[in-house]
């Protein structure tokens, strides 16, 4: 091993050989900026947080002694005389997934060096996110004020329905809100031209967080609203 100076990071290898080369390299294991590596590790840790929340929810759903309310009826809206189950949550999910699309476009524009377009797309993503949080506030208000559901009690059945719902969607909504702020801050700095010389990796890092929050929502949607 006298070629201690050779680094695997300069040679692009693919598949199994590339994996071995990355892990056997000196200096750095993954060819990416520190911030991006750290974001991946953080998201892995955050995955465990949400997994524990969802596991806890599934567990109390099986142990509770009172019947679980039917989600499609709780989460239904009457619009123009039509009773439509899960309509609000369908719109919210659509919006959040659309925001992932605009985020991906922002990352693409960033790497092309199109400064203003990147910032604009990030602001659009943030607006999608903000409207998601707004609809969530509407949904919470409806459940609390009209249905009388509280974290500690629930006139429709199991009290754990309210406690799990407010805890999990609240924790996710907090992630979305933080993401909106994060997006706006980075968008402002992109607009100002902070990354012209440093490169636009930060847009991708922000995007990683945003896509993660979307992906978590898909699981919450499936386990809470569709089960």
């Amino acid at each position: 091993m006298q070629e201690a100076t050779s680094t695997g990071s300069t040679i692009e290898q693919h598949g199994h050989a590339g994996l071995v080369a990355d892990w056997a390299a000196d200096k750095q294991t993954f060819t990416m900026p520190w911030g991006k590596a750290m974001m991946w590790i953080f998201l892995l840790s955050d995955t465990f947080i949400f997994s524990c929340f969802l596991t806890g929810y599934m567990s109390v759903r099986t142990t509770t002694t009172t019947p679980w309310p039917v989600p499609s009826e709780v989460f239904a809206l009457t619009i123009a005389g039509h009773h439509i189950p899960l309509i609000l949550i369908a719109i919210m999910t659509f919006i959040l997934i659309s925001s992932s699309g605009s985020m991906a476009m922002a990352v693409n524009c960033g790497y092309r060096g199109e400064r203003k377009k990147t910032a604009l797309l990030m602001v659009i993503t943030a607006l999608f996110g903000a409207s998601f949080v707004g609809m969530q506030a509407f949904e919470w208000t409806k459940l609390i004020v009209e249905e009388g559901i509280r974290p500690w009690g629930n006139p429709l059945g199991a009290p754990q329905f309210g406690s799990s719902f407010f805890m999990i969607t609240g924790f996710h909504g907090m992630h979305v809100s933080i993401g909106v702020i994060y997006l706006l801050v980075v968008a402002f700095k992109v607009w100002r031209g902070d990354y012209v010389s440093r490169g636009y990796e930060i847009v991708e890092i922000t995007g990683l967080y945003w896509h993660f929050v979307d992906l978590v929502w898909v699981f919450i949607f499936a386990f809470f609203y569709l089960w």
């Binding site: 100076t5 000196d26 294991t29 900026p33 750290m38 465990f48 806890g56 109390v60 754990q160």
Partner: protein, 587 residues
Amino acid sequence: MAFVAIADRDHEQEHHDPHTFVSKYIWSQDHKVIAIQYGGTAVLVGLVALVLSGMMRLQLAFPDYFSFIRPNEYYQFVTMHGMIMVIYLLTALFLGGFGNYLIPLMCGARDMVFPYMNMLSFWAYLVSVIILMSSFFVPGGPTGAGWTLYPPGTILPGTPGSDMGILLMLLSLAVFIVAFTMGGLNYVTTVFQARCQGMTLMRMPLSIWGILTATVLGLLAFPALLVSAIMMIFDKTLGTSFFMPAVLSMGQALDHQGGSPILFQHLFWFFGHPEVYIVALPAFGIVSDLLSVHARKNIFGYRMMVWAIVGIGALSFVVWAHHMYVSGMNPYFGFFFATTTLIIAIPTAIKVYNWVLTLWQGNIRLNVPMLFSIGFIFTFVHGGLTGLFLGNVTVDLPLSDTYFVIGHFHMVMGVSPIMVLFGAIYHWLPKITGKMFNETLGKIHFWCTFLGTYAIYLPMHYLGILGVPRRYYAYGLSDFIPASAQSMNVGITIAALFVGVSQLLFIINIIWTLTKGKPAGSNPWEATTLEWLTPDTPPKHGNWGHNLPVVYRWAYAYSVPGAALDYITQTDPQKGGDIEEGDHGKH
């Protein structure tokens, strides 16, 4: 634009050199100062926990003698002792202290990758410690639910500190987890992404492997504790029923229904078992380096040691329910978890054999760090073997909640990691302070601690087999406990107080080093690793002066045949002495 590794860049990175006292020692972003801040805080809070354990022992030996220790206080001492020792001392000192100090130095980096976040990590840790300590001063005192905090009792009246104490405990844990996450992300990213030229993963010292794996475990295990803390805070403050079944308390039905106390136990131990290895793996890694340096021999089977660390880390996530054999869970779970638990014995035994084989035919320098390392092998084998008893469901059932369990886990995750901590502090003190400690004082400290802890914990196994239950305030007249058990309790207490007081020797030695210690030179142990090769001792901000080090071989080139000295440093450009010649694990 491809990203350029830091070691390949020109000297463009800014040196945020501190100038004032405050920016140098208080709001410092230097990993070495942060490490000392972490370590100092952890040792101080550990002393509190040590005093608490002394008071518990006083009560057990001389029941009804000390009027200030009533049942409530006793349970509060038990709880706070356990929680402080496991989380706020051991986790913080190994990862926040040694992780911070050693990772950049041993990997050849100038600092952690995000120094500002690293600084925040320490200050958040300090806040969590202050919150925890403040629970001693609130009405009702700290929680007395036992460090496992099992509901429903924990948050119901009757348990000491069930009002403010438990809330402060949970809040403190949540803040600690935030602090750990900020630090832990830094440690992992630094090891993966900021090594110097030539430092491949398989050339890293085992200390770094242990710290890295433990940090990854922490990042994946602490979420379970965070989630259970949040749920329990809601159960306590909002009246939710995550962990609370229908309960009759003081003759009255409470508002809770339908929750699952077992869910808390699963979440807690999904964190709690990896936590054992969060404490043990850095100790494994560090002791490997200490043994190798002071036996002047390469570590036996380096590759197997690395794989054993990673393997133990992975397995630690599938054994948690062996803490719950008596919880009433499905017996088939017990079969599964007993099997996985016993499988962990294989990589652990590999490590023990390799430590012993490292000593075999070594040129052993029996100095203080080496004494503590050899002491670790004894205490660890001892605690590991009693673990085999407790890992089997049928043997565990009668031993559950007895002093056998206390003896076991204090041996394996109390005394053993602390042996390594002392060894490590003595080993790196000449680098941290630039001065040599008092060898004689250190040896007396070792023998008092080593023999004293055996005098404490060995008799506890016997008490456990007699069936003496743990966490009892006093035993009174119990027919199944012979009177001789009480005299043994007195003996244990005397030994415990002796060990507790003898830790003053350690503090005296630190003060002696700082005031009267002779300059140690940059490499007093004639070690090969990068931290001993810094241009300044103690290392200055930025660690390496103008140029980053370049590494040519693994960390264990001791007694290489044909070499001029009995060690070849990692940065020595001469040929030979790399892992291919030295690692027996490959052949």
